[in-house]
Symmetry: none
Subunit: 249 residues, 2 copies
DNA sequence: TTTTATTTTGCAGTTTTTTGCATTTTTAAC
DNA sequence: GTTAAAAATGCAAAAAACTGCAAAATAAAA
C-alpha cells in the first residue's frame, strides 16, 4: 500500500468519525503503529488533522477557524516560523504581521511562553487567542478583504502610539537593492508604520521571493535587522544580503 | 476514548446545561472522578469553563468558547438575526457586537447589501469579510480570550470617535427593572461605549435571558430602542418591557 | 539491467503522558 | 465545632510518544 493512499484513508476515517485511534487504524491497515504515528505527525504538520495523545481528531471537531487547507509551500513557512520562535523570550513585546508565514509563526508559539503580541491581522489574532499566556492586542482600522488586516489612517495612527521589541513582518517582494516592495499602496503605508514602531524588525520570507520587486516600496533593505528564510544561512542565494548589516537566520 | 474527545464532551455538556457535576460526568463517560477533576482543572486553566466545588459551570452567556461548534440554542439565535436584518438598509452604518447571536447576524447579512460595519469582535469581523459589499472597520484594543472581543481603554477610546446609525448588541442578562447587566466589568465598560456611539441601539437576546440579572450594569432598559427576541412580539413574556419606550420585534 | 541513492518502515530502548488509587488537606454544610 | 464530601498530593502501572538504527522498498542514475 502506498503511503499517499494510506494517509488519504486516515483522513477519510477522521472526517467520517471525527476521530481515530492509532491502534485501531494500524490494525485495519495492517502496518506498524509507528508508521501510522508518523503519518499522523505529517498530516498534523500539514494542518489536515489534529494529532492528540492516542490518535487524531478532525479539525472541524474543535476548531471553527477558516480551513486553510493547502497553504502554498507550507513546509518552508513552518521552517521559517520555527527559526523565528528562537528569538522570543518570556516577557517579549512583539508585533506580528499578516500573511501565511506570520500566521504559521502565531500558530507555533508555544503555550507556555509569556508574550504581549500586537497584530493587525484577524487570522493571527484568532491563532494567538488560543495561547493561554499571550496577551493579544488588536490594531483596529479598516479591514482589507484580501489580506484580512487592518489598514488605513486609523491603523497607522494606532501603530504610531506603540513601541515593540520585535516586529515579525512578511513582504510581497524583497530585493537586496530595491528593498521590500509591495503591489498595494495601502499595505505599504501600514508596513512603514510597523517598522517605525519596532526596535528591531524581522523579515520572514520564503526564498522564492528573493530578488523580486514591485511598484511600491515599504523600506530599504537595511531597515531589516534580521532576515529569516527557509534556507541555510550559508546558502549562496543569500549572498547579496550579506554586505548589509543584516543578521541572517 | 481520547482525552481530547472527553474534554470536548465535557465542554458540550457545560454549554448545554450551564453546569455539570463531576460525579455525574465521571459515571456517564465511565472514567474515574480524578480524571474528570484533572480535565476540568485543565479546561479551567484554558478559560473554557469555570471550575467550582463539585463540578464546573459555563463561563456565562456573554462568552462563547473558542472551540465549540454547536452553538447553544442556535435556532432561536437565527430567528433573532433574521428579524434584525430587516432593519438594515443600503448605506447603513452599523456596529455589531460579539457573541453568538451577533455572529449569526453577521453570517446572515446578504451579499448584495452595502454596509459599513464597525465591530470589536474577531469572529464577527471574520464573517463580515466574506460579504463583498460590506466595509469592515475593526475596533482595536486588548482582546479578551473568552469573548474574543477588544476591550479596555483603547477600545473604548476608539469607540468614542465614531457614530453609527444602529448598534446591534448582545447582553449577558436583561431585566425590565435592572436593565442590561453582565458578569464581567470590562465587558460592561465596552457596552457603555458602544451604546454611547449609537444613534439607535438594538438588543438581540434569546428569551431565556429575560428577567435575569448580574453584578454589573451596562445600561438602563430604556437606553434600548429596539429589542429582538425569538418570540412573537405579542408574547406575554415581553409584557414587562412594554411600558418602556421600546420597539419589540 | 544493474547499481546507487533516497525514502519508507519496523524494531528496541528510553522518555513522557495518562490514569487510577491511597492518603492527606480543604471545603462547606449542619 | 463536627462531619461528610470534595480537592489536592504523591505514587506507580500502563499506554503512548520519541529516538536512533538497520532492513526493506522505491526511485534515480549509470
Amino acid at each position: 500500500m502506498l503511503k499517499e493512499e494510506r494517509q488519504q484513508t486516515i483522513l477519510n476515517v477522521v472526517e467520517l468519525h471525527n476521530r481515530i485511534l492509532i491502534t485501531d487504524i494500524a490494525e485495519t491497515l495492517d502496518v506498524s503503529i509507528d508508521t501510522i504515528r508518523r503519518d499522523i505527525k505529517e498530516l498534523d504538520a500539514d494542518h489536515k488533522l489534529k494529532k492528540v495523545h492516542g490518535g487524531a481528531i478532525s479539525l472541524g471537531f474543535t476548531t471553527n477557524s477558516v480551513k486553510n487547507n493547502n497553504i502554498y509551500k507550507l513546509e518552508q513557512k513552518t521552517t521559517i516560523a520555527e527559526k523565528a520562535l528562537t528569538l522570543l523570550k518570556d516577557g517579549s513585546v512583539i508585533f506580528v504581521d499578516g500573511g501565511t508565514t506570520c500566521n504559521e509563526l502565531a500558530r507555533l508559539i508555544p503555550n507556555d511562553i509569556e508574550l504581549t503580541c500586537f497584530t493587525h491581522s484577524i487570522p493571527v489574532a484568532m491563532e494567538l487567542l488560543t495561547k493561554s499566556n499571550v496577551t493579544v492586542i488588536l490594531i483596529g482600522g479598516q479591514v482589507s478583504k484580501e489580506s484580512q488586516i487592518s489598514i488605513g489612517a486609523n491603523a497607522i495612527h494606532n501603530l504610531s502610539e506603540i513601541k515593540v521589541d520585535y516586529s515579525f513582518i512578511g513582504t510581497g517582494y524583497v530585493d537586496s537593492y530595491y528593498g521590500l516592495t509591495e503591489f498595494d499602496w495601502d499595505i505599504v503605508q501600514v508596513k512603514k508604520a510597523i517598522i517605525k514602531c519596532s526596535k528591531k524588525t524581522v523579515l520572514l520570507s520564503i526564498s522564492e521571493k528573493l530578488n523580486s520587486q514591485h511598484r511600491y516600496k515599504s523600506c530599504d533593505i537595511n531597515a531589516i535587522n534580521t532576515m529569516i528564510t527557509e534556507l541555510n544561512p550559508e546558502n549562496e542565494l543569500l549572498n547579496s544580503f550579506r554586505n548589509h548589516d543584516i543578521r541572517i537566520l
